[in-house]
Subunit: 548 residues, 2 copies
């Protein structure tokens, strides 16, 4: 039985009607159509799209001349500078794969990653020379090391490489005739998940997924042409949620930023009329906490995305108060970053601010360019009912999902079991079909047989006027199995006691959900603002032991 039709005959792919999807198409378009418009601004350095395109072609050409081949890895240890931006294009032009390192990592992790990724070239900013030197010292085979000497960086750090970045560019042909990959499934980048335990896993992205996720950002945030984008989110975090490619797709302006501070961000927003930025909750909190004077002179509309961790209701309300439009996105490294969005509904504007913040704080729905996201039973893979109560696991499927984990077929198979990517996040599905995370599977606290969502307790803690950062983890308990233990970082010049916090929670939560123990101090966070719960769990344990 033939299943071919008249449409299957004589209508094949050819050079005229088929091209690999790749974000490289975006930068060449911007350079062709808007060559003289600004592309990247970093202090005194200003590059147009033509200039940025030329620099990326030089980078690609220089890497090829240095012997790089398709599928070789180039690692980078960079702040949000023009070089980090250029790496997102030039490395792919050489057919190579960008591995952007998290700059907060220690020498051991970096050495592990450079070995695992089989890195051939390492491009590193002088600021990170000490940790990089320590990492390199652990390697038997060293990559070619290229120093970035950023004039905007005045701190310590010696160059330690074979040549500097500008010298590397000078080796390249500014008219390099790069080509799209033969296969859009080819790898474009490699992002190691920080991993709460065990060795980091290397998440591989491909050209097709990078292209589609970059467009997904354009669609979901309705990014306008010539948008002005402030780099508050590190470009090493899921490739800056694929925004380097999105900004190229909109012929926008990248405003670089080495360090997130309220003054630095507000100054950039004012000076360059920034229209968009992204960041973890702490980035937004930084702006909310800043003195109102810092916001003076900013009259234009600024839109922002929050992700990387769930925003508290208090934070969402705070953003509304300072007049910055905020949308909550959700995702994981494995799904290119922002692959779910709490898409807004006009009628929510009629709700009170608390109810509005509660709606807007949910993980929401799939972005349109990811074909599936559902809350499924982890055992049957059947969708949970939209009752806002039945717990399931958020799972994704579609084109904005990774190729898999590098050199780790077992973990890849496990992550994709049953044809869905398993996020590990436990959630319910609300009556409108929006997902609402109850917890990471490992963050749920089981106390006397009852499930306690650490997020729910944290939401309550954030309502206390003295609380800046709150985190809740499970503490082993001989009677209840586990009980909630809270870590509180108070606002500057404010203090709070354990008793006061416990009483505050008991007044607002079922008693079994209130923390049994409260630790006041600095709450440890990763470079991307994620609270390191595995560190807190250990602290809670040690703390309990010391009190016994």
């Amino acid at each position: 039985m033939s299943t071919t039709s008249i449409y299957d005959r004589g209508l094949d792919k050819n050079a005229a009607n088929y091209a690999a999807l790749s974000p490289l198409t975006f930068i060449s378009w911007s350079a062709e159509v808007y060559p003289d418009r600004p592309a990247v601004i970093h202090g005194a350095r200003h590059y147009t799209w033509q200039q940025t395109y030329t620099r990326t072609r030089q980078l690609g050409s220089a890497l090829v001349r240095r012997g790089l081949r398709r599928g070789d890895t180039v690692s980078t240890m960079l702040a949000n500078t023009p070089e980090a931006y250029e790496a997102h294009f030039g490395i792919a032009m050489a057919g190579a794969v960008l591995n952007a390192l998290n700059t907060r990592q220690d020498a051991d992790s970096i050495a592990y990653i450079l070995q695992h990724a089989e890195t051939k070239v390492l491009i590193t900013d002088r600021e990170f020379s000490p940790v990089i030197a320590a990492a390199l010292a652990k390697l038997d085979v060293k990559p070619l090391v290229v120093d970035v000497l950023d004039p905007e960086y005045a701190g310590p750090g010696e160059p330690l490489g074979d040549l500097n970045y500008e010298a590397l560019l000078a080796e390249g042909d500014p008219n390099f005739a790069w080509s799209l990959p033969n296969d859009e499934w080819d790898a474009i980048s490699l992002n190691y998940t920080s991993g709460t335990t065990g060795r980091p896993k290397g998440v591989v992205y491909h050209h097709r997924g990078a292209y589609l996720t970059a467009l997904s950002n354009v669609v979901e945030s309705s990014l306008p042409r010539h948008m002005v984008y402030l780099w508050a989110l590190p470009m090493f975090h899921c490739n800056g949620w694929c925004f380097p490619w999105s900004v190229a797709a909109r012929s926008g302006i990248n405003i670089c930023l080495r360090k997130v501070t309220a003054a630095g961000m507000f100054d950039a927003i004012r000076q360059y009329k920034v229209t968009h930025y992204c960041g973890a909750p702490f980035v937004h909190s930084t702006l909310i906490e800043a003195p109102a004077e810092m916001r003076q002179g900013i009259e234009h509309k600024v839109s922002s995305l929050v992700g990387g961790a769930a925003p508290s209701q208090a934070m969402i309300e705070g953003m509304a108060r300072i007049g910055i439009d905020l949308t909550h996105i959700y995702g994981l490294t494995e799904v290119y970053g922002p692959t779910a969005v709490c898409a807004k509904h006009e009628e929510w504007a009629n709700l009170g601010s608390g109810a509005q913040a509660e709606r807007n704080g949910r993980q929401g729905v799939r972005v349109m360019l990811e074909e599936g996201m559902k809350v499924l039973s982890p055992t049957t893979l059947e969708p949970v009912p939209n009752d806002g109560e039945t717990m399931g696991e958020i799972m994704f499927r579609g084109n904005c999902t990774m190729k898999g984990y590098l050199k780790n077929p077992e973990a890849t198979a496990e992550a994709f079991a049953g044809g869905w990517f398993h996020s590990g996040d436990l959630a319910v599905s609300d009556p409108d079909g929006y997902a609402r995370i109850k917890d990471r599977s490992k963050d749920i606290i089981i106390s006397g047989g009852e499930n306690i969502s650490s997020l729910e307790v944290e939401d309550t803690l954030y309502r206390h006027p003295a609380v800046l950062v709150a985190a809740v983890v499970a503490l082993e308990d001989t009677r209840w199995g586990e009980v909630p233990c809270a870590f509180i970082e108070p606002r500057p010049n404010m203090s709070v006691s354990e008793e006061e916090i416990i009483a505050f929670c008991r007044a607002r939560l079922a008693h079994f959900k209130a923390p049994k123990r409260v630790v006041v101090g600095v709450v440890p966070r990763t470079a991307t603002g994620k609270i390191q719960k595995y560190v807190l769990r250990q602290q809670a344990k040690d703390d309990a032991a010391s009190r016994r």
Copy 2:
């Protein structure tokens, strides 16, 4: 020598990380996320996204139950009604291929197409029953005929089918579990080019191209979420330039329109706060020509695209005068419609209105999602210099290019010779890299060895205050080989003489470019507003013969 890398191993496609690109993803998203928002409005009929999605699922299911299989053709003969919109989704859900017939075609052409496309089902609006009855009478094997009985249509025309559209939907399962195609290269639609000579050719679109072109419209026009789109452009024209899928991608509102009139359009713009529409030049001219009273009460911004034929400068200036934002797009059926765009530059705003219109009237550059468009030498396929003078042919390559011509491998191979789609349009490349059409290869007039661009002469004619429509074709001439012959349709209640027009042109053009003969009367146009130059060429010939 192995060319595989670490990124090629254990990182294959699977159900979790790969899905066929298809615009069906867009409608399911809108129904999931914005189920209760309006999707399609047609007079008294209002459908939400949930309702439209349900109707398309019923359509898909009913077609499958009627025995349709992957790659079968469903033809439609429809005005811009909800049924035409639903056809763009429901037919694909059945794995079948939509062939939207041009409603101005004659019975012979329709019969030819139905036979050539091997149409299994024909969905036809009662208004077109006479011509469809005549076409069906010519067929040995008849398709299943389904009548659309639109309450908004009060004119003549008897149902002639086996059942009506609503009865067909009733046969379908509202929860039909359609699936994405196995291969995104599968055909989604079939569009016959009107063809100036010979039999029409069947241009085949695939799911991937429809998906990308729909997104391309979103990107190039920065279409906002919940846009309100007025259907002035027929949906049978390159699938309405892929806008049925774009509007679904933006959870927008489709305002249907059976007939283009100034009053009808302005009423819809006012009542529904239309934000966008597209159309051939005559659509826009209709609005420019309308009395100013018709525009009263319209204060919001309306954006429009013009294509299908090059807009005159006078028309571009007229649109600016009535305050509708206009962008010129260019393309052909073979490239899904709008695949080039005259992308605007802010600095053009500083030019005089004439110079601005001249910039904005060009064919421009590739849309970002089409990987290549260049003015190439038809012989060497080398790009012409950006000198605004050297003539070449516009060629396209990339994902927004057709699969090929149905059952016509010779024409397909010819169209794609050298790995580029040959548009047949002769153009120069301006210093900024924007293409400017000089003429269709067959529309160029060669007089005494000199090339005359009929477009250039037409641009001059449109500057005459009494000219509503102008067209220039070659007329055989014993002395010069060819000379320009102009056809003029005067504005209502105005008249103009042959002598006056010739004098007007001689004052503004090189004398050899001025028309030697001017015919005043109605200028024949196709359904989509394209002037039928082959008809004019014959008229010019007959006219010359009669005067001999």
